[in-house]
């Protein structure tokens, strides 16, 4: 018995050895072919706090890669991705980008998703003078002033301030005077509320509440009650998904009475959260970047969303994909168009092209300003309207989120007030 066991073990060891010898030999052919691919390297937040967005972004990026390869690739070469999960952990990002550039020898790089994991890559990218298309980093280049940084998020040339300008212009248009500001103690939320504070001051609002809360907060009722005690006309919230849900639920439970509520709440763009909150979102005015609307129906967006929604089904990511995926596709579209137009992978040529060209993408025309942000802001302020409970389908149609700002893409007027 024991003898037969050892014989089987020896047989298995032999088989593994043979495989170990054969696999590299068999893959030698494809390896030669791979030399001709264009490698695009990046880290992506596939797990951790931004994992939900990062995974949906990766699906969108893979759709772009497959679309491009189906048309023959870039410069006649197939496109290949080399990527690693940065787990939304800033400490992991520098070694990953060093590996991508020094070991994997990628031809092009793009950023991970989110400010916290874009910033740590900047020094490495700058040292190598690489063009760096970036996915939803808020005001990252304010500090670095890197001329090869290109941000796809349409927050505008002064992103911190432009992000919430529309919200306060709507409030000003209705003659509102007092504002409460609440934000999570986290990078994005603090940047968002910084901009909101600037806008409030510039437009002459009186700030009656301006406080932060830890992201680990479980119950938001005491915060909403404290805000209500100051009786503000406007409540601007800068929050991440769990706190956005907590804030909206607490505002509904306590019947928060204010005229304008919302602003910078991340998560209210995600289908699972929208479906769950349903009518609790009615009349909330919040930022977004793309929603189904006649004014935002750019060529290619419908076809992209169809492909995305097929791939997202069952993948545990946002099933509609309105928020991040179109932009993840678009930042690669920009890079791909730059490569094709310059017929080169030369970083100098690519950078010059990206600094001066208007790109046609599925999210509309993209033109970068001198700091790498969009030359003109197209941050949307949308209002949720007439929502039904537990109905995901309503969010895939125009009308559930009415675009109030900017005027160039507006689809309706503000329903006012939020609750009296």
């Amino acid at each position: 018995m024991a003898h037969s066991f050892w014989r089987r073990l020896a047989g298995m060891a032999g088989a593994f050895t043979a495989l170990a010898v054969l696999i590299p030999a068999l893959s030698a052919g494809p390896a030669l072919a791979q030399e001709k691919t264009i490698k695009i390297g990046f880290s992506m937040a596939l797990t951790g706090p931004l994992g939900a967005g990062g995974k949906s972004a990766l699906i969108a990026m893979e759709i772009w890669r497959d679309d491009v390869n189906a048309k023959g690739g870039l410069l006649g070469r197939k496109v290949e991705f080399v990527y690693y999960d940065d787990a939304t952990n800033p400490a992991k990002v520098p070694p990953l980008y060093t590996k991508l550039l020094d070991v994997d020898k990628v031809d092009l790089i793009v950023s991970s998703y989110g400010t916290n994991v874009i910033v740590p890559a900047m020094n490495i990218v700058m040292r190598k003078k690489m063009v760096f298309p970036s996915l939803f980093g808020l005001a990252v280049n304010d500090e670095f002033k890197y001329d090869r940084y290109f941000q796809i998020m349409p927050a505008g040339p002064d992103p911190k301030v432009d992000w919430s300008r529309g919200f306060f212009e709507l409030a000003k248009g209705k003659g509102l005077e007092t504002v409460a500001l609440a934000a999570a103690d986290a990078e994005f939320s603090q940047n968002a509320v910084y901009g909101a504070r600037k806008n409030a001051q510039a437009m002459g609002f009186k700030v009656v509440y301006d406080k932060s809360y830890p992201p680990s907060t479980t119950d938001f009722a005491p915060i909403v009650r404290a805000i209500q005690a100051t009786n503000p006309d406007v409540v601007y919230v800068g929050s991440y998904p769990p706190d956005s849900v907590g804030m909206v639920k607490a505002a509904n439970e306590l019947q928060l009475k204010t005229k304008l509520f919302g602003g910078g709440m991340v998560g209210l763009q995600f289908a699972a959260i929208q479906k769950n909150l349903g009518p609790m979102l009615d009349n909330v005015v919040n930022y977004d970047f793309w929603v189904p609307a006649s004014t935002l129906n750019f060529p290619g967006i419908d076809a992209f969303l169809k492909k995305y929604q097929q791939k997202a089904a069952g993948a545990g990511v946002d099933p509609l994909g309105h928020y991040l995926p179109p932009w993840a596709y678009a930042y690669l579209e920009v890079l791909g168009q730059a490569v094709e137009d310059t017929k080169s992978l030369d970083q100098d040529k690519l950078a010059k092209h990206m600094q001066t060209t208007t790109y046609q993408t599925i999210v509309g025309p993209v033109k970068f300003g001198s700091n790498g942000e969009w030359q003109t802001s197209r941050a949307l302020m949308v209002q949720f309207r007439n929502l039904k409970a537990d109905d995901l389908d309503q969010f895939s149609k125009a009308g559930s989120r009415v675009v109030l700002h900017p005027p160039s893409v507006k689809t309706g007027e503000l329903v006012f007030p939020y609750r009296q």
């Binding site: 939900a52 406080k211 932060s212 809360y213 005491p222 404290a226 907590g246 639920k249 699972a272 545990g316």
Partner: protein
């Protein structure tokens, strides 16, 4: 502002409701860490498993999350027994439980997280229930059922567990094994068997706590990390191994958080809560209701 009766009474009620939920989160750890000396840092990760079960059974069969949490307690109990047997055989039996055991539970936490990510992805999960979003107004006090149902469920679970511990032979044996393992052995009880039952009970509470967590807010696999520090702080503040102490500490943390959120800058809530922990330990090193060694 603190003299405003509306704000004051609501801050107290909100703190109690929150404390009730924190009790459910810390209860299992109070048994595992407080009574059995097992540093189960993966306890909040098991709570997240409970949340995912509540989500799945709610989405597939329309089951109420609390009902799901209660129904699945036997499954979590068995899971607890299995986890303890592995822990015992690998570490406790050979006396390596202190550092290696801690690494084991760290590893378990990451395995649970990654498994959940691989199976369900990283999107936020939420549940629907008729009481979510409903608010009872009693006089000047608001009672959101989204917090009140977890509070009531947690209190019932705690009372049940307390009665089990104090009135049954196995319960008293669990208390005994935490005090003097050798004496228990001399009285004919098998400490390993008693400990595995206790650990099973600890994990059974995670099933209910997970269901309560997803009632309150959205859940994703890594959200367990938010509760590790808080749960351990409650167990230590209350006094190691004392269930009433755990309840009391959870209420103190809940009320402290609610007061800071209402009357001061919410950013200070963790500092105030953990400051209370440090102050208490300075005065009573064994915790509020902990036994003096």
């Amino acid at each position: 502002m603190i003299t405003d009766p509306v704000l004051l009474s609501n801050a107290i009620v909100a703190g109690l409701l929150l404390g009730g939920f924190y009790t459910a989160v810390a209860l299992g750890l109070s048994i595992a860490f407080g009574q059995l000396d097992i540093v189960n840092i993966a306890h909040p990760a098991f709570i997240i498993i409970g949340s995912y079960f509540a989500y799945l059974l709610g989405a597939m069969h329309g089951l109420d999350p609390v009902l799901t949490g209660v129904i699945l307690t036997p499954l979590f109990f068995v899971l607890g027994i299995v986890v303890y047997r592995v822990y015992y055989a690998s570490f406790e039996r050979t006396g390596q439980e202190s550092l290696s055991g801690l690494a084991f539970f760290f590893g378990l936490m990451f395995i649970i997280e990654v498994t959940l990510i691989l199976i369900y992805g990283v999107d936020y999960r939420l549940v629907q229930a008729s009481y979510i979003g409903v608010n009872w107004k009693i006089g000047i006090v608001d009672i959101p059922l989204r917090m009140a149902i977890p509070f009531a469920t947690s209190m019932l679970m705690t009372i049940g567990l307390y009665l089990f511990m104090s009135k049954t032979f196995v319960g008293r044996a669990i208390l005994a094994v935490s005090q003097d393992r050798q004496a228990l052995q001399l009285m004919g009880a098998n400490p390993v068997r008693i400990k595995q039952i206790a650990f099973g009970l600890a994990l059974a509470t995670a099933s209910v706590a997970g269901a309560l967590l997803i009632i309150i807010g959205p859940v994703e696999p890594s959200i367990n990390r938010e509760y590790i520090g808080r749960a351990f702080a409650i167990v230590v503040l209350g006094g190691m191994g004392s269930l009433p102490g755990t309840v009391l500490a959870a209420f103190i943390l809940g009320i402290a958080e609610s007061f800071v959120n209402t009357f001061a800058n919410p950013s200070w809530a963790p500092a105030v809560a953990f400051g209370a922990l440090l102050l208490t330990l300075a005065i009573r090193p064994s915790g509020i209701l902990g036994r003096h060694s």
